[in-house]
Subunit: 146 residues, 2 copies
């Protein structure tokens, strides 16, 4: 809760939301208009060699049922595909599919654009210091490395 004037965490929330919306808007404009926020948050966690559903769920901090539901949709839309996990027959690996790869490429430009804007607005030194601080904060806020 906390209704005081913006604390650091709220400022981060606002900035993140802004970027997320710009990325989703750019994707929509590029024809990837069937991706939702929830889907993208799971999609983001898929590693280059594929990731297990359980891992995705942990990292996105949703239940595995929810993650499964979202992956179902991403799969139907052609952004990801599921395959067997060679190292464990119970598990399956969620991997980026053709269309997902293209969506990633389409979004990369926007992210770079936003970073450039931030850098210009803050000045290089200040921007770099902020990023360094954020990375260091991660040790506290994301100990599992999610």
């Amino acid at each position: 809760m906390s209704r005081e004037l913006p604390n650091p965490a709220v400022l981060m929330f606002v900035a993140h939301r802004h970027v997320e919306q710009r990325v989703l808007a750019a994707l929509a404009e590029a024809g990837y208009d069937d991706i939702t926020t929830a889907q993208s948050r799971v999609f983001q966690r898929i590693g280059p060699d594929g990731t297990r559903l359980t891992t995705l769920a942990e990292q996105a901090q949703v239940t595995k049922q929810t993650a499964g539901f979202l992956v179902d949709q991403l799969e139907k839309a052609g952004y990801v595909e599921r395959g067997p996990d060679p190292s464990d027959a119970r598990a399956r690996l969620v991997r980026i599919a053709e269309r997902g790869q293209r969506a990633i490429e389409a979004s990369a430009g926007v992210v770079a654009e936003v970073d450039a804007e931030w850098r210009a607005h803050l000045g290089h030194a200040s921007y770099e210091e902020m990023v360094t601080a954020l990375e260091k904060l991660r040790e506290l806020t994301d100990p599992e490395g999610r």
Copy 2:
């Protein structure tokens, strides 16, 4: 989307999520265990003299129907109350109720605690610079002052 290794926005997301969860957990432990994330995001925007539903919706970036739905629940749970807006008979002001005020007080400690941890982890100078940068970024990411 963007699956590159954590860009600044993602780091902000992770940090904010961490704080939000700690605050909600602390509230739950203090007996305010019926507040959801969505509700708290609307609740946070209520000003000391009350705020109109439409304003809450804009600031939380949801439709007014959604804001109304969430305020309904906050009202049923005793966190807020609705009253007339003296300056406009169409409008109503959502105000913090007794229980809401106590919840705010219960959460304030956690927010302060997190800030202290961050400050200790980064060092005063770095922490202050980060906050300054975040405030300045808000000019880009939140031009309407939400």
